[in-house]
């Protein structure tokens, strides 16, 4: 199709503001998919996505729409992840678009990720169409929300009012896309340049690259070259999403679709790479993406040592569809062989954990998350440490730096005090407070990521009855007085329980952690001392007293079988414990530090 009739756009929103529901309405309205076919929220394809009500992977769908001007348009909707953990993926999707629909909930107003996503879209130079959604709700206040939207810099008269749930305003949204989103400006006659904005692995077609054709055209059978990796292949198939894969002979400049590459390894076809023709390569690649940078790290260990190869295979397979997952083998004294994994954030970590457990049926144990510290050694060497157990001895370190985040919180004004208190306790520094309206403020802070990943979001939500919203992004590495806190169980240091913390907090955290472990570790046949230590200095001590009673009272009229089954059940239960030395430690203990604060 002629580029002037193509519109490439995405929908961005704060979580739960109705992004997916609006996408469904657009697909339905344009007849891309019938109501009957509409499995609930078609764009969120992973089970986990549906369950958590979020989008994790980017998706793209082509729609045909006959506008009020009588002409037919090709609209490509590229879905974007809605969680801050995945803002990296959002920016990837944005690079394939010329416009963005910014959805704002009529009952909630502008939230932290509304703003964060808006900034990303503005940075990508997109046309923005503000849509106020959920106007049918009794508590909707479109006037007030329109004012907020105006305050964040968008023209008030371009706002579309809609209720995706009720199908109100759907046509207006489509018209606005046609009117305000500029058509792509690629050069059809130039050598092929296609941007890979996502990929997934298919057992039959190999790696399927989701692409935006910037210049030129691509057809089935073309020999292609990946400009960064230099990998070459023959195109098995090209096509678009409607919403399932539909083969088409050719994709031309301005269009969005897929290429079945036949590559067996995603490494050959990396997100952000530029596809060109091997015969007539483009002179210059497109500006790709920086590789995703993992922010949160944790050890993943099989509960049964024998499962190690299965865990490795599962991670390899997850990696095929999730380039942002990184991992390397780790050997823990306490937990044996496993992997140190890097994640985009806590949600990403949780999703990987759940997928390993559900899709691969693995019994895994995760250590508490850590961040990546920058250590300058006295010999001048620079190290990045994301496993507390690997922190060099104090005498070898010239300084330690930790990642500091810019954090942004939208909240009703009445919670300012409690948020201030929470952030200060987490070593946060206040930067700015801006009143959006009389009773709503936008707070900005700088805070160590290490403090942010420990239960901060849950605390923020619970202290503000769920009203506050949060967004954050990396600011810089800064030096801090950090120490390693070790936990000794039965006199033996358990590496998987070590953590890096600020010196001022070590005492209190050590005490809380020892207390918590005392509750979590079941009584054993002998007394088990639990100690917290910084260096060789013991800062807290607790004792798990020896078990006193575990015996069945009765013989049940000769029912020995039942007695035996009960014992077998007890025995099975013990398998869920991890043996460290001679002590059996339950899995929750390794996550204990997450629930230490503010009980």
């Amino acid at each position: 199709m002629d580029q002037s009739h193509i519109r490439n756009f995405c929908i961005i929103a704060h979580i739960d503001h109705g992004k997916s529901t609006l996408a469904d309405r657009l697909l339905e309205y344009t007849g891309t998919i019938s109501k009957r076919e509409m499995a609930e929220q078609i764009l969120d394809q992973m089970d986990l996505e549906r369950e958590k009500g979020i989008t994790i992977k980017a998706q793209a769908v082509r729609m045909r729409y006959t506008a009020r001007d009588g002409r037919e348009y090709e609209l490509n909707l590229i879905d974007t992840p809605g969680h801050v953990d995945f803002s990296y993926e959002v920016s990837r999707s944005l690079a394939a678009c010329e416009g963005a629909i910014l959805v704002v909930d009529a009952t909630q107003g502008v939230e932290a990720q509304t703003l964060a996503n808006l900034y990303l879209a503005v940075e990508a130079d997109l046309a923005i169409i503000p849509v106020i959604n959920k106007i049918d709700l009794a508590s909707a206040d479109p006037e007030k929300v329109a004012t907020e939207i105006y305050h964040i810099g968008l023209p008030r008269d371009e706002i579309v009012l809609a209720s995706a749930k009720e199908g109100i305003g759907t046509q207006d949204v489509l018209e606005a896309v046609v009117k305000y989103v500029p058509p792509p400006k690629g050069a059809g006659e130039m050598p092929l340049r296609a941007l890979v904005f996502d990929s997934k692995y298919d057992a039959y077609k190999g790696v399927i690259a989701y692409v935006r054709i910037v210049d030129g055209a691509i057809s089935r059978g073309d020999r292609i070259e990946m400009m960064q990796t230099d990998s070459r292949t023959e195109v098995l198939e090209v096509g678009y999403f409607s919403p399932t894969l539909v083969a088409a002979g050719t994709l031309s400049a301005g269009e969005v679709g897929y290429i079945a590459t036949g590559f067996k390894n995603v490494k050959d076809c990396q997100v952000g790479d530029t596809v060109t023709l091997a015969a007539t390569p483009a002179p210059e690649a497109l500006l790709g993406y920086r590789p995703a940078k993992p922010m949160v790290f944790a050890g993943i260990f099989p509960v049964e040592g024998d499962d190690y190869p299965l865990l490795r295979d599962a991670l390899d397979r997850l990696k095929l569809n999730d380039a942002s997952l990184v991992y390397e083998p780790e050997n823990s004294v306490a937990l044996g062989f496993g992997f140190r994994c890097g994640f985009l954030g806590l949600l990403h970590m949780e999703i990987i954990q759940e997928r390993l457990e559900r899709e691969y049926n693995l019994d895994i144990l995760m250590t508490a998350p850590s961040v990546e510290y920058r250590v300058l050694k006295t010999n001048g060497e620079e190290l990045f440490i994301h496993n507390p157990a690997e922190l060099p001895a104090v005498t070898q370190m010239a300084k330690i730096e930790e990642p500091i985040m810019d954090i942004s919180i939208f909240t009703p004004a009445r919670y300012i005090g409690t948020i201030m208190e929470l952030v200060t306790a987490r070593r946060g520094a206040f930067r700015d407070m801006e009143y959006l309206e009389e009773d709503r403020v936008h707070l900005t802070y700088r805070m160590p990521l290490g403090e942010l990943i420990v239960d901060f979001y849950d605390q923020l939500k619970s202290r503000t009855q769920g009203y506050a919203s949060l967004d954050y992004s990396f600011h810089a590495y800064e030096e801090a007085d950090l120490v390693k806190l070790d936990l000794l169980v039965n006199g033996q240091s358990v590496d998987a329980l070590s953590l890096i913390t600020h010196r001022d907090k070590a005492q209190r955290q050590g005490r809380l952690l020892a207390e918590r472990l005392k509750e979590l570790i079941p009584r054993q046949l002998f007394e088990v001392p639990i100690q917290a230590a910084v260096g060789s200095h013991i800062i807290a001590r607790e004792t798990v007293r020896a078990m006193r009673k575990n015996v069945l009272a009765k013989c049940y009229g000769g029912d020995i079988t039942r007695k035996r089954k009960l014992l077998e059940k007890q025995k099975e239960g013990k398998k869920r414990l991890k043996r460290v030395g001679s002590v059996e430690i339950p899995q929750e203990a390794f996550m204990a530090m997450l629930s230490l604060e503010e009980e």
Binding site: R523, L525, F526, M547, R548, K549, N550, V551, L552, A553, K554, C555, Y556, G557, G558, D559, I560, T561, K563, R564, K565, L567, E568, Q570, K571, E572, K574, S582
Partner: protein, 454 residues
């Protein structure tokens, strides 16, 4: 990675045998010792008691179901009592036939136990008929121990007198507590006063071997109330006392209450304190602690239960009854009507069938049947024998299984040895005082690592 343990000396049994401990308790009050020694000297390897049985008869009727009880018992079904007894009579006959010795003689039966439910809900005529059937179809010892469980709320002198005359020579009463509030809470139908009355009536009827059951670690029970119950019990001077720690069983009202957080049983420390208090009080009152939960005047140890604890064969008959016979553990149908129907079908059919083609089991309403492999039988034997205070007889174990205990289990018991849960004295391996409260820690380690298929 076998750890050196005091058991090591038994890997190769010493050629000279230690004299039998004269204080030692045995399944047959002295008689087996003689048998066993005779067998030893003859160089034979099997325990003659393995060729005898104990008979368990389950009586599933109750006036009311107690809140903690998950035994196979039913309230409001007394109307089925006659048909049930008929089925039980038929089954005794069947069991007798199927368990005959190779020469066709009936098998020796050493003890009979009427368990429930509430067996005292049977008429004395019914009990007499059942005992007559047992005598007809088994070679019942003249001095067989014949126990009947009774609810103190259902006992009258006349009835007790008739039961005694019918041949019952041991009475086991579910007294449970002397605290009226706790009795009510448990859903018991009797009062503390009725325990005393029933006990006196039993004595008057000539029962000179009486057991009282009590439960401790009840929600709301203090060390103090438990002590009063113990003292009160000791003052009655029964020959035998069973003191059970409350078990919260799935499917009972108590389980629901506990899981909803409406009641909370005492923690393990208090329960352990109660157990240790009981040990002290019972010892002071002249009782001998002979099994985890049982105390007796010397010579009044329950021979029937010793059958379980020595892992000797027993035939269980009745709804939901369990048996252990010819290497099989079996269970019968639990619902009363289903039990009756199955027995009727079996006994009708077997008149025309060659019995040898059927299950090698003596019971007619079998619904579960598990052949116990040798490895498991060794574990089960060790598990139940270690419940006895005197412990497991190492040489008898070696004779029974043609291998010694240390070889089979030594490597798995390192931790419990070093934790001081086990000790060896002479031929006996036993739990220490501390080990008795932690028996499951030892038992679980005895079990084979892969659970038996079931």
């Amino acid at each position: 990675m076998a750890q050196p343990s005091p058991l090591a000396q038994y890997v190769t049994p010493p050629s000279e045998r230690l004299p039998a401990d004269p204080q030692r308790l045995d399944a047959e009050a002295g008689r087996t010792d003689v048998d066993a020694q005779a067998v030893d000297q003859a160089g034979e390897t099997s325990d003659p008691l393995l060729d005898t049985i104990s008979l368990y008869l389950h009586i599933p009727f109750c006036h009311a179901k107690c809140h903690y009880c998950d035994f196979n018992s039913y309230a409001g079904m007394l109307g089925l009592r006659e048909r049930y007894v008929d089925a039980l009579l038929a089954e005794i006959a069947l069991a007798g036939r199927r368990s005959r010795l190779p020469d066709g003689a009936p098998r020796r039966c050493r003890t009979i136990f009427f368990g429930g439910g509430t067996p005292s809900l049977l008429t004395s005529a019914q009990v007499r008929a059942l005992l007559d059937a047992a005598r007809t179809h088994f070679a019942l010892d003249a001095d067989a121990e014949i126990t009947l469980e009774a609810n103190p709320g259902t006992l009258e002198y006349g009835h007790l007198d008739e039961l005694r005359a019918a041949g019952v020579n041991r009475l086991s009463m579910g007294a449970q507590s002397f605290d009226p509030a706790l009795l009510k809470w448990m859903g018991r139908i009797h009062t503390p006063r009725e325990i005393e009355t029933a006990f006196a009536a039993a004595r008057a009827a000539g029962f000179d071997s009486v057991n009282l059951d009590f439960i401790y670690a009840l929600p709301g029970q203090s060390l103090d109330t438990w002590q009063r119950t113990l003292d009160h019990a000791a003052a009655l001077a029964p020959e035998h006392l069973s003191l059970y720690s409350l078990i919260v069983e799935e499917g009972t009202p108590l389980y629901t209450w506990v899981s909803q957080g409406r009641v909370r049983p005492p923690d393990d420390d208090l329960a352990a304190d109660m157990y240790e208090l009981a040990e002290a009080r019972m010892a002071a009152a002249g009782y001998r602690h002979y099994e985890v939960s049982n105390w007796a005047r010397p010579g009044h140890e329950c021979r029937h239960n010793l059958t379980y604890w020595r892992n000797l064969p027993y035939i269980g008959l009745g709804a939901g009854a369990h048996g252990w016979y010819t290497g099989h553990r079996y269970a019968e149908a639990r619902p009363i009507r289903e039990y009756i129907a199955r027995v009727t079908a079996t006994t009708d059919a077997s008149t025309s069938l060659d019995e040898h083609t059927e299950l090698p089991l003596p019971a007619g309403a079998v619904v579960d049947d598990e052949a116990i492999p040798r490895e498991l039988e060794m574990a089960e034997t060790a598990m139940v024998e270690l419940r006895l205070v005197e412990g497991l007889r190492l040489r008898a174990f070696a004779r029974r299984f043609h291998t010694d205990f240390q070889t089979v289990f030594g490597a798995r018991l390192g931790e419990v040895w070093s934790a001081g849960l086990l000790e060896v004295e002479g031929d006996m391996l036993r739990l220490t005082d501390r080990g008795r409260l932690l028996g499951n820690e030892v038992f679980a380690r005895l079990l084979p690592d892969t659970p038996a298929l079931s």
